[in-house]
Structure formats: structure tokens, C-alpha cells
Subunit: 241 residues, 2 copies
């Protein structure tokens, strides 16, 4: 069987009890080496299959191979495995297999939720997740989603906001949003949410410095009720106060 | 100080370690009685302030009163406290106080993520959260968001999908989505996700029976890549397989 596990940001304090139990119950741990490193204290007695970035397909296929031999395998991702994580790929690959392989998705705290808790309460009303990585998604579709989400005054969480290979996607997304959202709409930036070296910046659509953002960063853009108080970013639920 | 805690679905296995530590560290536990009941084994030695539905404001004000007396108070919600939970209201109320009151938001597994893990991996690509409760949000804004989210081919998670007081909002949302999404788009319905009596139904936009949905239910509508295999609802991330 295969557990597909979201470990959250990585520190044990943000894992669920189910996550730790599933890791303990596994014989083989499969993952991207950075994530393996985050749980190394929990897996010293396990067989580990790790590899580098963009090798997800290879990792998942190995996990399935081992599961077919009767092993209990844990495929680990940071955050939640079902949100831009490995749960989908594992289930897609398993759906092609003739043999029945049991898959259990173990939930974790995804990056937007962790970052939101650091910022205050920016996700108190309707929100979207949009990944700005155009490796697997057409850039036109991403831009369309940014436009529609901004038009609907959703709070927007940007995953994979910026990398060396695509330094300008976030800037373009902000240009699109500016047509619909006020320029003084609060923006929260959290680097390494829930990890050592966590950093937060609260700014606005107009004042953001894109250089503050990299691949380890979550960017959350408010809606038209979002405000800043005592360094906290707060979106109103709608109560009369 | 005030911890605003998301306990996840309620069972200890889905809580984070941080959540349990924060509950242990608190002297007073404040919450809606149904949620208090979910953690009753953890709080037998604590003072408890509980009340009924729609009394959030009263609860939060009591929590702030106790914190001002120097008590450590935990305000608990199910799911994540920052997602349609109590974190925003507490921070809004605290922002009106002259005295500085420390507030720590403790993350939890929100209902969409728990339901997704039960269904398979429906949230593998860009998605929205929309609450269909028009108690605190104008119905026209909700409908506009449903339209734009469907137009952008987002996966959509409906919070508060249906209650006795508003039996038809979900039906209207489905009518709006039908203009943009294929009628055979998979829809996952999970009742009591992560709790006893958990139930799942996988259906389509065309075939949904709205009577299967109540306030304890999460409804997740797929995008144009979402498919069903072996009873799992899977949204493609975009890998070539």
C-alpha cells in the first residue's frame, strides 16, 4: 500500500498525529531530498528513496513498484499532498495499473494556511489558490484565472510565485490584478512559513518589491475588506462590529 | 493571551501537535458547544465557556475579557481557525482594544482538504473556496464569484452548501456553473469528513441530488481534467503519463 503524506511545513509541531503514525507504519520512504531532510529524525530506521527536483514521475513510479512487491511505502510532500503535491500523480499512475494498489492520502497543513496564520487572518472569506508555474499549465490559462479571481474580489494565494526561470510571472499577475483591485489592497508575503528563517512582509499591490519573493514564498493578496492592524493582515468575515 | 485554534475535523488523529499543545497550555476553552464536545477528552481540567450557534460575537468578546484578566484562553473552531473560523473575528475585536492582547493563530486541517483526501485528489490544480451562506455576504456577490470561478475552470469547494434556511443556493450555484462547466464534470460530496459517520458520494453536475447535501457536507466540483477512477476523484496536475 501507499501512503501519500503531506507533512505540512516540515517541523513536527505542524504535523498531524495521522501523518506521524503513517510515517512510522511505512517501510520505505520516497521523496524529494529536501523534504526527506525535513523528516530525517523520524525515518532513521527506514529504507529511503530520494531524488532531485522535477523527478516526481520517477519517484512515484518507484513507489508503485515497491508497493506491488507488498511493501508499505510513504510518498512524502511538504504542505498537503493533495494540493499541487504527489497525491494526484500517484492516483493517476495507479489508475493505469491492472493490479489493485491501496492508496491513502494523509492530509497536512498547506502553505497558504500556514502563511495565513503567520500574517493574521487573511483567508477569512472566499479565496483562490493559483500556481504561477507555467511548467505544467498554459500561461494564458493562468493569466485568465488571475483576471477572473481579481474581478470576483477573491483573496488570492499564489503558489510557486517566482523563480529564476520565470522572474516576471508575479509582476504580470499584479498588473492584471491592478485593473480590478485597489492599489492599496494589503499583500502578505511569507518566506519559509512554519520553518526556521520564517520571515513576513506586509505591503500593498502598489508597493510590493518582487525581489522579496522566491520559490519558498507564499504571496497572499487581500480582498476589498482586508485591512492591517498591529501588523496583522485581516480579512473581514462580515460581522457588524 | 488568546490561542485561536483550528482542531481540524475533530478526531485527535487529524490534529496537529501544535494544536494539542496549545489546548494543554490554555486555562479557559471557549467554543461552540458542538466543537467543545469534539475535544472534551482533552479539556476535562479546564474552565469551559460554550454556547450555541450564531453566538460567535458573544463568545469572542468573552474570550477577550478573560485574556485581559491575564488568562490564557483557547478559542476553538473546527477545521482551520483562519478559514471562515474565529481568527478573523478575534483579531478584528482585538484591533479595537487599547490594550495589547497577544493572539496566536494555530492552524488546522480545513474541511476542503479533509474531504479531498477522502475523495482522492480533486484539489491538485487551482481551486476556490466559496461559502454559499448569505448570512454575512450579499447573495449577488456569491453568485458573481460562482460564475467567475466556473468561467476560469477552477475546481470549486463549497462551504456551508445548504441548510434549511437556504435550501436552494446550491441548486442556483449549479445552474450558474452549468453555463461554463461540462454537465459530466465530476462532483464529490463528503458528509462528516474525518468524523464518525463519514460518507462520500461521487456524482456529476448533471446528476447531483441536492438532498444529499446539508450543513455538515463539503461539495467539491472538478475542473475540465477531473476524472473518476476506481471510485477516486482525481484532478490532473498536467504531467504527461
Amino acid at each position: 500500500m501507499i501512503y501519500v503524506i503531506g507533512i505540512g511545513p516540515g517541523n513536527e509541531e505542524y504535523m498531524t498525529y495521522e501523518c506521524k503514525e503513517a510515517i512510522k507504519d511505512s517501510e520505505i520512504i520516497v521523496g524529494y531530498k529536501t523534504y526527506i531532510n525535513l523528516v530525517k529524525d523520524l525515518i532513521s530506521d527506514k529504507q529511503v528513496i530520494e531524488n532531485g527536483m522535477k523527478k516526481e514521475m520517477e519517484r512515484c513510479k518507484k513507489a508503485i513498484e515497491e508497493a506491488k512487491k507488498g511493501k508499505k511505502v510513504a510518498v512524502i510532500s511538504s504542505g498537503d499532498a493533495g494540493i499541487y503535491g504527489m497525491a494526484g500523480l500517484i492516483l493517476e499512475l495507479v489508475s493505469k495499473e491492472e493490479e489493485k494498489i491501496e492508496v491513502k492520502v494523509v492530509t497536512g497543513v498547506t502553505s497558504s494556511i500556514q502563511a495565513a496564520s503567520v500574517l493574521g487572518a487573511p483567508l477569512m472569506h472566499d479565496f483562490c489558490h493559483i500556481s504561477l508555474s507555467d511548467l505544467l499549465t498554459p500561461w494564458d490559462l493562468i493569466k485568465k484565472r488571475v483576471k477572473l479571481a481579481a474581478e470576483g474580489d477573491f483573496v488570492i494565494c499564489f503558489y510557486n510565485p517566482r523563480s529564476k526561470g520565470r522572474p516576471d510571472n508575479l509582476k504580470i499577475a499584479f498588473e492584471i490584478m491592478s485593473e480590478y483591485k485597489d492599489l492599496d489592497t494589503p499583500v502578505g508575503i511569507v518566506k519559509n512559513a512554519g520553518r526556521e528563517n520564517e520571515e513576513k512582509i506586509i505591503t500593498t499591490i502598489d508597493d510590493i518589491d518582487f525581489e522579496d519573493v522566491d520559490m519558498t514564498t507564499m504571496v497572499i493578496v487581500g480582498n476589498n475588506t482586508t485591512f492591517i492592524s498591529n501588523g496583522k493582515m485581516i480579512t473581514k468575515r462580515g460581522y457588524e462590529i
